[in-house]
């Protein structure tokens, strides 16, 4: 009995061992179930759509926190009230090349570029009856638009950057590619925007790119390049569209369900794709971390009926331990976590056009544009009469109109007034440092002087 038991056991063992060996290839080549091989990523209608969504997601990633912070925190409306030194450096205009927020933004932005490059490379080769030409054009146009947006932001943040236009398949891709100049970077933005405008649909979608979004970004690009005629032209095209109007009250553009008629392009969040920006603004008594605190001067400006008007809605107050605490309330959806990131608003198009017109000595038209924005906020017409006064009035208007959006720092750097207004007199500090880690990894990269 025992002998036969043993034989049985031995046979079972051998069988199992053989099976095991037979299963070797199974064992050694498991298939990933939650990732795709990169060469099979964009092959048909479904995967192309997913890749386009994925590129929006990368843009959303840097616009959620890092890019707004780099826009408002170096300005004077908001102070950093938390513990993290990378934010404190930005607040104090004392950036160093090892600032981890700078590194993170830079990394996310090039991820978005790679996403767009993958789409631009793969889309023309897709022949899927389920992907009609119109949609194919739309996806391609979106890729060009998003790439333009990222390169524009890279250009205004760091100056000229390496212009990668092909998808990355190996780490050798892009070897030898050095930084371009800021002008070359902006030229690439223009090229992409031109393409995008042709390809994109003329629709009213506000959280995906359409023709008007490309035009609005183009107006901004031309303003940054001091090409005032073009800036006016493209701003006019957006303003003239019946799809867009300034909403009243001011707070309406940032009120759920969002996507107001004022919005030309915003990045939508939802509870499952959450924006926790509110957490940085709310005091801890309301569940936030109170990292970004409006400074008293900004609070009084926003609350001043003659300056802020209805833009006082950007603020809210609560009583903590008997004292009233005022906090920023632009990002306020703590429960739903669906505050959008605002990228292009019609109010900015008015102010772009006002400035472009003022620069072209079209003062009455410029004043009219400025007053359109002021009227919506419930403040009286501007008292500026000369071009110089008007330009200052526009600058100040932007300060309150975009108080907590990604604007103030870039605006003052663009006009060369960051020294006068913010005291950052060392002009080398008007661009961000290239991340130290990337300089080490990329021999083609050169640091901005002064870092």
């Amino acid at each position: 009995m025992k002998q036969s038991l043993f034989r049985l056991l031995l046979v079972a063992q051998l069988a199992a061992a053989t099976l095991g060996l037979g299963a070797c290839s199974d064992l050694l080549e498991p298939t990933p179930v939650q990732q795709l091989p990169d060469d099979k990523a964009i092959t048909d209608a479904g995967s192309a759509r997913a890749a386009a969504i994925g590129t929006y997601d990368r843009v959303q990633a840097y616009y959620q926190l890092n890019w707004p912070v780099l826009g408002f925190l170096p300005g004077e409306n908001v102070r950093f009230n938390g513990t993290l030194n990378q934010f404190l450096q930005i607040d104090q205009n004392q950036l160093s090349a090892d600032n981890v927020l700078i590194t993170e933004a830079w990394t996310q932005m090039y991820q978005a570029v790679n996403g767009a490059n993958n789409l631009i490379a793969a889309l023309p080769g897709i022949n899927d009856p389920l992907l009609p030409a119109a949609e194919k054009n739309q996806l391609l146009g979106e890729a060009h638009f998003l790439r333009a947006l990222v390169y524009f932001d890279l250009g205004r943040g760091w100056g000229g950057v390496p212009l990668v236009l092909k998808p990355t398949r190996s780490k050798e891709n892009g070897q030898g590619l050095k930084r371009s100049t800021r002008a070359q970077t902006y030229d690439q933005v223009l090229a992409d925007l031109t393409q995008a405008e042709t390809l994109l649909p003329d629709a009213t979608t506000r959280n995906r790119a359409v023709k008007a979004a490309a035009r609005a970004l183009r107006a901004r690009l031309h303003l940054y390049r001091q090409q005032y005629v073009e800036a006016e032209t493209f701003a006019t095209q957006v303003i003239g569209s019946t799809n867009y109007r300034l909403v009243t009250p001011y707070r309406a553009f940032s009120t759920a369900p969002f996507l107001s008629q004022e919005s030309v392009f915003e990045l939508t969040f939802s509870n499952s794709d959450a924006n926790s920006m509110w957490n940085n603004w709310f005091p801890s008594a309301l569940g936030g971390q109170f990292n970004f605190q409006p400074v008293p001067a900004a609070i009084s400006q926003l609350n001043d009926p003659a300056v802020g008007g209805s833009r006082s809605a950007l603020l809210a107050s609560t009583v903590i331990a008997g004292a009233t605490v005022t906090y920023g309330n632009l990002y306020s959806r703590s429960a739903q976590r669906d505050d959008p990131s605002y990228v292009l608003r019609l109010a900015e198009q008015y102010l772009i056009r006002a400035e472009a017109r003022a620069r072209q000595a079209k003062l009455p038209e410029a004043i009219a544009d400025l007053n359109t924005v002021r009227t919506r906020a419930g403040v009286g017409p501007t008292t500026a009469t000369t071009a110089e006064q008007l330009l200052l009035a526009i600058e100040n208007e932007r300060k309150v109109e975009f108080a907590f959006e990604a604007d103030r720092w870039f605006d003052l750097v663009r006009t060369g007034r960051a020294g006068t207004v913010l005291g950052v007199t060392d002009q080398r500090r008007w661009v961000f440092p290239i991340p130290f880690n990337d300089l080490v990894a990329d021999p083609d990269l050169e640091q901005n002087p002064g870092y």
């Binding site: 064992l27 969504i53 990368r58 450096q89 398949r169 780490k171 569940g287 429960a335 990337d438």
Partner: protein
């Protein structure tokens, strides 16, 4: 003949005492009987092997130490038993009384090696053995922590004082940058998972130690395989060393012994943070205000009447830390039974262990069961199992790098701010939560279920050949449920909850064929071939809910918004291996081994790896020219060389170019590039050589073991930085090299080996020099990039600004201008030290006098640096408007002529005192972390057998023990044993609101029923 007997002993040990009584007797000889006793205590010894010399006839003694076997009068009988010297006696006509003397010579013990066992005499490898006896009753949840200070070259350091939390363990340094540096753990032949499964974010701390699923008191012995000759048989998993854990088994012919063991302990944090009081804080703030150019009439802390926050002396001081730290309790209960007949042997153990953290509200408890069974189906066929079940429960809470952690909230919040609002609600300030809100409301449960089980069968072909097949599973399951109500920040605004189910399963099948033979008197050969198949599957399901109707409905089912996700990953490993040992007269020994591994994790081009090793041993002490000296009872030289691999710590699909889902927008599915392909990806390989010397002198009074090793790991599995313009930041490549060189020494002094008073001391010390030999580019890591890897430096090096002094005239900090450009930029950050000790080790002392036993264990580390982030945050010069101060801030510069290293208070960025470019990243906060710690101090009393017998007990021992009674250290933080971002690779000795190791007083009793 000696050898064969020994081999039988080994075999007995291995299989829990196989019955060898059933050999057929063709020619009945007269029975010889007798009793075997311990020479010192004269107590009977059960389980002793008795063999008739020159035959295969043998037996083992029964529970009363008695035996009988057929043997012709005048023939020789050999008695052997683990831990005792062999004895040979002539069979006489009458009953024999045999006294076996305890063998003090450590060199004669049997050592468990990879897939086999070996006598330490013929061992050519560097293997440290720690007996379960030496580990018992240390109030730590996991067995790895018990190794602290016990084995030379094994650095063990708890990451924090959280029970059941992670442990930093390195065998002969760190070989790897991105792959894991943890050793491989093998429990009774099962390769176990050692990955933390807790998904709840806890401030960068590894929140669980999977080894805490094992009950330390089930352990018979632990062997630490250190050199390549010992570990190469584990191939691509052996490079970080291997810890073999052998659990207790029953012995043949043993009367069932039932043991009950319990202990109870009280623990406290041995030290507390020194915070500035309310008035001190106000004084500092006023000074900061004036230094920043503020109007002295408008300082923030002026009288309330003039619009201020009250004068400094009017400020209250709220003591929050006392609410957090408590006297914590530990209780342990264990019941075990071991015994067996000639055919079947068993060990059954059950345990319950519960331990509170000294910082509220964390706690850990564990139920464990173990069943080890062995049965001889026939003379040749043997089957058995080692099966352990455990259920752990952790009440986890975050500390360390987390502003809403419990210690953070108590430590960082300014001392003058009240704990409650006037309306009685919890007051919260800045980014911090209220510590009492957290203590009273945190609700994070992690329940682990673990099965580690192995079934085996062995079959003996003839005398020399044994086939073994074993099937194992390690099933590790972690189920977490967290609910954050609206009273704490994490629950804002209407309650949040999360739930994770994580499952990590390893299946293992293994066959070995073991051949063992002696040719004549002098030659012995042991050879083994085998194969293993392994599959590891990891899966996790996560759920989250937001917006709850109230604080009493805590499951996600009640949430208004419910989101979920799941993930899965798999890896396989196919291996073949073999080894052979040849020994001549037990004097010259040569080992050779090789393993071939194929891993699914690697690129198709590089799937197979081969890991060979050789070892040589020469027992010089057996040579007549040494014996003639009459000095050495043992003198042995060892040398080994080999190659091992490492594949742990990288993702299962690291070699593939992948695009991942989950990049969603507008609630539509999106994909985005995840990683670049590397079809050439392979293991990192470690070449190691080792030379060693074992010696025993002064009649074995002094036993020495020395080792020198040199390891070179190349083809590191490295996240090589790639230019970020590619859209990626790194790529896993085989690039770079790390070396570890060092020595280990262990000396055991048997001051008084015999008699009523016995005394012995073991000292071990080791040094390891770690160096990054080759790296593609410097890599920064950890919070604020405080750690940096550079070619030529050690891992765990701190990258900071070096403060040269505080200028006595201006009060401003001055930093070294490393590149001499007259400016302070990031280029002036440099490596200012590392977290490696120059030396580390331990001392174990044991004294017994009749029934009394007294022992202590010390462990020490010398020369490691610690980054004290508590000072980084709490000595902030005014830059942190929501954080209080340590008392140390009071030593700041105040007026010209002050000499101090704490600069003038200011928030001015351009001074770089605390902020600015330097961002407070100064070596001002880097400290010497050397320490000597009295790990345990024990006094026990074993009641004499006669007395305990009156109470119908077999044995009774009572003891008291103190753990961490004192620590001598220059370190200013709570505990120099700290690693608060253990979840971040390549960081160590980082102290940030971390729970310290407690000081514990314990009483216990062990009863043999």
């Amino acid at each position: 003949m000696h050898t064969r007997t020994l081999r039988r002993t080994l075999f007995l040990l291995l299989w829990g005492g196989a019955s060898v009584t059933s050999y057929a007797q063709s020619d009945p000889a007269p029975l010889v009987s007798g009793t075997v006793t311990d020479a010192a205590s004269h107590t009977p010894l059960p389980g002793v092997t008795v063999m008739a010399k020159g035959s295969s006839i043998g037996t083992t003694t029964d529970a009363n130490g008695q035996f009988s076997l057929p043997a012709a009068p005048g023939s020789a009988l050999v008695f052997s038993f683990v831990g005792y010297a062999h004895k040979e006696l002539q069979a006489t006509g009458g009953a024999l009384t045999v006294n076996l003397a305890a063998d003090l010579q450590e060199l004669s013990e049997v050592v468990v090696t990879g897939y086999s066992e070996q006598n330490r005499k013929t061992l050519t490898s560097a293997i440290s053995s720690v007996k379960g006896e030496d580990l018992k009753n240390i109030p730590a949840a996991s067995p790895d922590q018990l190794l602290q200070g016990k084995a030379p070259g094994v650095q063990v350091s708890a990451n924090s004082g959280v029970p059941g939390g992670g442990v930093f363990i390195r065998i002969r340094g760190s070989n790897s940058v991105n792959a894991s540096n943890d050793p491989l753990y093998v429990v009774d032949g099962v390769f176990i998972n050692n990955t933390n499964l807790i998904a709840t974010g806890l401030g960068n701390q590894v929140s669980s130690n999977p080894l805490a699923d094992l009950n330390p008191s089930d352990i018979e012995s632990m062997e630490i395989l250190k050199d390549a000759n010992a570990t190469a048989i584990y191939g691509s998993r052996g490079a970080n060393g291997v810890v073999l854990i052998t659990t207790k088994r029953g012995k043949a012919g043993d009367k069932t012994r039932i043991t009950f063991n319990t202990y109870h302990a009280l623990s406290k944090a041995p030290k507390q943070y020194k915070l500035a009081s309310g008035p001190e804080l106000a004084t500092l703030e006023n000074e900061r205000f004036i230094n920043d150019g503020g109007n002295p009439a408008l300082v923030p802390y002026r009288s309330v009447a003039s619009g201020g926050r009250g004068l400094p002396e009017e400020q209250q001081t709220y003591d929050r830390l006392s609410d957090v730290f408590r006297t914590a309790q530990t209780h342990s209960y264990e019941l075990s039974a071991a015994g067996g007949s000639a055919k079947t042997q068993f060990y059954i153990g059950a345990g319950y262990f519960t331990q509170e953290s000294v910082a509220r509200p964390s706690a850990f408890d564990r139920f464990s069961l173990r069943v080890n069974l062995d049965n001889s189906v026939t003379d040749k066929l043997r089957i058995g199992t080692s099966t352990a079940l455990s259920r752990t429960h952790r009440n986890v809470s975050s500390n360390d790098n987390n502003p809403v952690g419990v210690i953070n909230s108590a430590l960082f919040t300014r001392a003058n701010l009240p704990v409650y609002n006037p309306d009685g609600s919890y007051a919260k300030y800045g980014s911090f939560d209220n510590h009492l809100a957290l203590i009273n409301n945190l609700n994070n449960d992690a329940v682990g279920s673990r099965v580690i089980s192995n079934v085996y069968g062995t079959y003996q072909f003839g005398k020399n050949l044994t086939f073994r097949s074993s099937w194992s599973i390690d099933f590790n399951d972690m189920y977490e449920n967290n609910f954050n109500n609206t009273l704490i920040l994490a629950g804002q605004p209407r309650g949040t909850a999360s739930s994770f189910l994580s499952r990590d399963i390893t299946l293992l099948n293994e066959q070995t064929l073991n051949y063992s033979v002696n040719f004549g008197e002098n030659h012995s050969v042991q050879a083994l071939v085998g194969n293993t198949l392994q599959r590891n599957t990891f899966q996790r399901t996560s759920l989250a809910g937001q917006q709850f109707p109230g604080n009493d409905l805590t499951t996600i089912a009640s949430a208004a918004t419910q989101t979920g996700s799941s993930s899965r990953s798999q890896a396989g490993l196919v291996s073949f291996f073999g080894k052979a040992t040849y020994s001549f007269k037990e004097r010259y020994t040569a080992d050779v081994s090789v393993r071939a591994d194929a891993s699914s994790r690697f690129g198709s081009e590089n799937r197979w790896g081969y890991f060979p090793a050789v070892g040589l041993g020469w027992r010089l002490g057996e040579e007549s020219f040494i014996q003639d000296l009459g000095v050495f009872q043992e003198l042995k030289l060892r040398a080994s060389l080999g190659k091992t691999g490492n594949q742990a710590g990288i993702s299962d699909f690291a070699a593939l170019g992948l695009v991942q889902g989950g990049a969603n927008y507008l609630d539509l599915p999106g994909t985005s590039p995840l990683q670049l392909a590397n079809p050439n990806l392979s293991w990192e390989s470690t070449r190691q050589w080792n030379v060693g010397l074992d010696a025993a002198v002064l009649q074995n009074r002094l036993v020495l073991e020395l080792n020198y090793y040199d390891k070179y790991t190349s083809g590191l599995l490295l996240n090589v930085p790639v230019p970020r313009k590619t859209g990626f930041s790194s790529l896993v490549e085989n690039y770079g090299a790390v070396s570890n060189k060092g020595f280990e020494a262990q000396a055991t002094a048997n001051w008084l080996p015999k008699g009523a008073l016995q005394w012995s001391t073991t000292v071990n010390i080791a040094r390891n020099v770690n160096k990054i030999e080759k790296l593609a580019a410097p890599i920064t890591t950890g919070s604020r990039d405080i750690f940096r890897l550079e070619e030529g430096a050690s891992l765990y090096s701190f990258w900071l600004y070096h403060q040269t002094r505080v200028n006595p005239e201006s009060g401003n900090a001055e930093y070294e201008d490393v590149n001499g450009d007259g400016q302070l930029t990031v280029a002036d950050r440099k490596l200012v030290g590392n977290a490696w000790p120059d030396y580390f080790g331990g001392v174990t002392n044991s004294v017994t006098y009749k029934g009394l036993d007294f022992g202590f264990t010390l462990n020490f580390e010398q020369g490691a640096k610690i980054m004290n982030m508590n000072r980084f945050f709490l000595v902030h010069g005014g830059t942190q408007s929501n954080i209080g101060y340590l008392s140390e801030q009071l030593e700041r510069w105040q007026r010209p002529g002050d000499v101090t290293d704490i600069p003038r208070l200011t928030t001015n960025a351009s001074s770089n005192n605390y902020g600015g470019v330097v961002q407070n990243l100064s070596d001002r906060y880097l400290e010497d972390g050397s320490f000597v710690r009295l790990r345990t101090l024990t006094l026990g009393y074993t009641v004499p057998a006669a007395t305990s017998a009156k109470a119908h007990l077999n044995s009774l021992r009572v003891y008291v023990q103190a753990a961490n009674l004192f620590t001598i250290t220059p370190y200013s933080g709570l505990d120099p044993e700290v690693n608060s971002q253990s979840g971040v690779s390549n960081t160590k000795n980082f102290d940030w609101a971390t729970v310290p190791q407690p000081r514990t007083l314990q009483v216990g009793v062990t009863v043999g029923l």
